[in-house]
């Protein structure tokens, strides 16, 4: 049987990594001034601009519109007849941390922990491999930013958001952590226990994190009772109980989603829902609580008893109810590029086209606190810009230029090299 994708979701906002420092010094390629002219420009932050210009300097967008003055010496890219959008964001992937799922030594998620399913201190991005060939495969399809997300466990760990730029992890990093992940679905083997027990364990964890914050000095003197997790995990949960770091809760059954909403209220948490197969059944509540939902658009199979209501109109119905929808899909690195087709299918099942584009660009950027950096074509944003041969959601459309921070990163991927090698048989094995 086809191996199904690991359950990973995606995640928030947090402490700046070393990225800003590195970016203060643009590389030679980034110092270029680039003017993309004549295209149908979708800024996402505003209405579509026909025959628009996107001006890029020093790796940043400096101007977008119809009356942009193009400096002499700018490199012009004629986008007449093309569509221009912000780079696509896939908020929930294991790109860079899982190369080949079944090959243990290339698989850096989920964390093993101590068998108690709580690995809040797990910073999944510390296992990230910037040299993964799957990065080139992914960005060639117009995906310029991904959430790197830990899977598994009751509390799986911390996620990061990275740009698929050249360079090392520090250069690629947008923000880390962007969120903490949790899973309240009763799945026995992973977390263990009944749904009620799982919720209670999560409550104990959150309460003990508060206890740890209040009585840190006593804790150091061994003058507290035993707390529900190790020091590192409690430490990592502090921004979560302070409502600063989103807790992304994997939940599919409508009742599980309601439990998550109740938990958020009880502890004043900032949460998001991932999975969310039956989210449409509680859409008004999600909207009222302003809880974003990370959903795919390709699942209408009642795969488990928690997903009996799975339907492809999920994203559309959430949007209709006023909830914030983030579309993910293709969690594993090999398929991370397919998120744009996920968005297209959401449109086929009722989501407006504009909402679908937003769900894979600006909405995830906003939800995870990086909208000042990515997700729209506006002055001051990173120049993550894609020029498409047409509608980006259509399979017959190609990403013709993919700029990440002003640099065109479209180069032959490992897959391209394989195809070139075997286009004429037998191969020569020379290059």
């Amino acid at each position: 049987m086809k191996k199904t994708t690991n359950r990973v979701w995606g995640l928030g906002r947090g402490v700046a990594f070393g990225a800003a420092l590195v970016l203060a010094m643009p590389t030679a390629a980034q110092s270029q001034t680039i003017a993309i002219t004549g295209g149908r420009v979708h800024p996402v932050s505003g209405p579509v601009i026909e025959n628009g210009t996107v001006l890029i300097q020093g790796g940043k967008i400096v101007s977008v519109g119809t009356n942009v003055v193009i400096p002499a010496g700018a490199t012009r890219i004629d986008a007449t007849g093309k569509w221009v959008t912000p780079g696509i964001v896939n908020v929930a992937t294991t790109l860079g941390v899982v190369e080949i799922g079944a090959v243990e030594e290339t698989n850096d998620t989920p964390a093993r922990g101590r068998g108690d399913a709580v690995t809040a201190s797990h910073k999944v991005w510390e296992g990230f491999n910037p040299n993964s060939p799957l990065i080139q495969v992914t960005r060639n399809d117009g995906i310029t930013t991904v959430g790197v997300v830990p899977g598994g466990g009751l509390v799986g760990g911390q996620a990061a958001m990275v740009d698929l730029s050249d360079g090392d992890l520090a250069a690629m990093m947008l923000q880390a952590p962007i969120a903490m992940t949790a899973d309240i679905g009763s799945k026995g083997d992973q977390v263990g226990g009944t749904r009620a027990e799982v919720l209670q364990r999560l409550r104990d964890l959150l309460a003990d994190t508060r206890e740890y914050m209040r009585r840190r000095a006593d804790y150091e003197k061994n003058a507290t009772r035993e707390l529900a997790a190790r020091r590192g995990d409690l430490e990592a949960l502090i921004p979560v109980v302070q409502g600063r770091l989103p807790l992304v809760i994997d939940a599919n059954r409508a009742s599980e989603i309601e439990s998550a909403l109740n938990l958020a209220k009880e502890f004043s948490l900032k949460i998001m829902i991932s999975g969310g197969a039956e989210a449409w059944m509680v859409a008004p509540k999600l909207a009222a609580a302003k809880v974003p939902v990370i959903v795919g658009a390709l699942n209408n199979i009642p795969l488990s008893f928690a997903m009996l209501g799975a339907r492809q109109e999920n994203a559309a119905l959430l949007q209709e109810a006023g909830a914030t929808v983030l579309i993910n899909g293709g969690a594993d690195g090999f398929n991370a590029r397919n998120v744009r087709f996920e968005a297209g299918n959401a449109v086929a099942f009722g989501l407006s086209w504009d909402a679908a584009l937003r769900a894979v660009t600006l909405s995830p950027a906003e939800a995870f606190g990086v909208a000042d950096r990515i997700g729209s074509l506006q002055a001051g944003r990173e120049a993550n810009v894609v020029i498409w041969s047409g509608d980006p959601f259509e399979p017959l459309t190609r990403a013709e230029r993919v700029l990440v921070r002003g640099v065109d990163v479209r180069r032959p991927s490992r897959q391209d090299e394989l195809m070139l090698r075997y286009k004429v048989l037998p191969p020569t094995y020379r290059r």
Binding site: K2, A102, F341, A348
Partner: protein, 418 residues
């Protein structure tokens, strides 16, 4: 099922048997296609469907599915697809596991899928007999079986049998090959014994029947088609050698993420390739998957098929075909829509030995027809009406007539629209 006379008028018709017909009409009568073309007279008794702006294709056919044997919800009690008790189980038949109330069936139908091959899983070298089903509501699998379709034999290469039997039976690829050859030697002897008895005066007791050997002997006689799960190019070559050694044919390799590397070999041996557009990477033997597999195979003259192995993917084989067209353009291989539609219709029909009955829109064939609201190679296209044997079994515009399985009653919210 009631079929009557139906005419779909003024549609763009992809026949899978020739060039696209613009503003075409197709007429279905008594379960068969009775007319198709640009200048067709609509019989007065026909129920007319306006196809303006819409597209008509043959019903989608999937050579690789586990619906019913890995039914939803995927609980242990529904896990009936892999008889992992021995590396060699040609004695088991998928049809004895199929649960007709699997809610995945109506979802497949709603996506235009009309015929599917249900295979046992890939844990075993010989996984068992497949069965070809029509995607129709029925209390029994007998009511779904495609009349007179040949059975298939599921075989599997590589990592899966190695992994499953590492502690009990075999643990290497050479162990796999020894396992296939040993069984074919047994099957040869069994076939000879029975053929001799059948050709003789049939006096006395016939030889003892053996379910496993019966299936393999039928393969050797050409009456059962081999469907071989195999990822790596070099392993496909090994399997071709084994087939030649024992004198059987491989109808199709399945998954074949490296099929493009031996496309010439597959073409020369007339073996179909059932592949994904771009799924891969999840295990070592899948790491060389490329999105250009489909166009590269097409270009080499291989009978090219998009398959799913997945209840969700099955609903979007048309989108996978579109990805194949797209990647082909990028690498300089132009595949027309008229060719790409064959990847999900007549080519899988041929791999199942059913291309004389289904898979293309020609007069006399079964009226398995899909009306799409848009060009099926668009991401936005959805099957609007689906006909099997001329009976309209799905109509997106009429939710009241929607097929709901027993399982769904009370459990799956009824307002859901597949």
């Amino acid at each position: 099922m009631p079929s009557g006379v139906v005419a779909i008028r003024n549609a763009t018709i992809l026949t899978a048997a020739g060039p696209t017909i613009r503003n075409g009409t197709i007429v279905l009568r008594d379960g068969k296609i009775v007319a198709v073309g640009a200048n067709v007279t609509v019989p007065p008794e026909a129920r007319v469907v306006d196809g303006t702006g819409k597209f008509v294709t043959p019903g989608v056919i999937d050579t690789h599915s586990h619906l019913g044997v890995y039914a939803a919800p995927g609980v242990d009690a529904n896990s009936d697809g892999n008889e992992m008790t021995s590396p060699s189980t040609p004695n088991v038949w998928a049809e004895h596991s199929v649960w007709p109330q699997d809610p995945q069936f109506p979802r497949a139908l709603s996506a235009g899928v009309t015929t599917i091959q249900i295979l046992p899983g890939s844990a075993n070298l010989f996984g068992g007999r497949s069965v070809v089903l029509k995607v129709v509501p029925s209390r029994t699998v007998q009511g779904m079986k495609f009349p007179a379709a040949k059975y298939g034999l599921k075989m599997a290469c590589g990592e899966n049998p190695k992994r499953v039997y590492a502690q009990r039976g075999l643990m290497t690829r050479m162990g796999n090959v020894a396992g296939y050859r040993t069984q074919w030697i047994n099957a040869e002897a069994y076939r000879r014994k029975w053929d001799k008895w059948l050709a003789g005066d049939k006096k006395g007791d016939p030889p003892q029947r053996d379910l496993a050997m019966e299936t393999l002997a039928e393969v050797l006689r050409g009456n059962i088609l081999v469907h071989n799960h195999c990822y790596r190019a070099d392993e496909m070559a090994q399997m071709i050698d084994i087939a030649k050694e024992f004198g059987y044919k491989i109808a199709s390799f399945h998954h074949g993420v490296e099929a493009y590397k031996v496309a010439d070999l597959l073409a020369a041996n007339n073996i179909a390739a059932s592949v994904w557009s771009d799924w891969g990477g999840f295990k070592m033997e899948a790491m060389d998957g490329v999105r250009g597999n489909l166009p590269l195979l097409q270009n080499a003259g291989v009978r090219t098929i998009v398959h799913s192995d997945d209840a969700n993917g099955m609903q979007r084989l048309n989108q996978d075909a579109a990805k194949g067209i797209s990647e082909g353009r990028t690498i300089g291989i132009n595949v027309s829509e008229d060719d790409a539609i064959k990847w999900i219709t007549i080519n899988p029909a041929a791999a199942l030995g059913l291309d004389d009955k289904i898979g293309s829109l020609v007069v006399g064939k079964n009226a398995d027809v899909v009306l799409w609201d848009k060009n099926p190679f668009s991401i936005y296209a959805r099957a609007e009406k689906v006909f099997i044997d001329g009976a309209m079994l799905f109509d997106r515009l009429d939710p009241s007539q929607r097929w709901r399985t027993d399982f769904e009653l009370g459990y799956v919210p009824s307002e859901r629209i597949p």
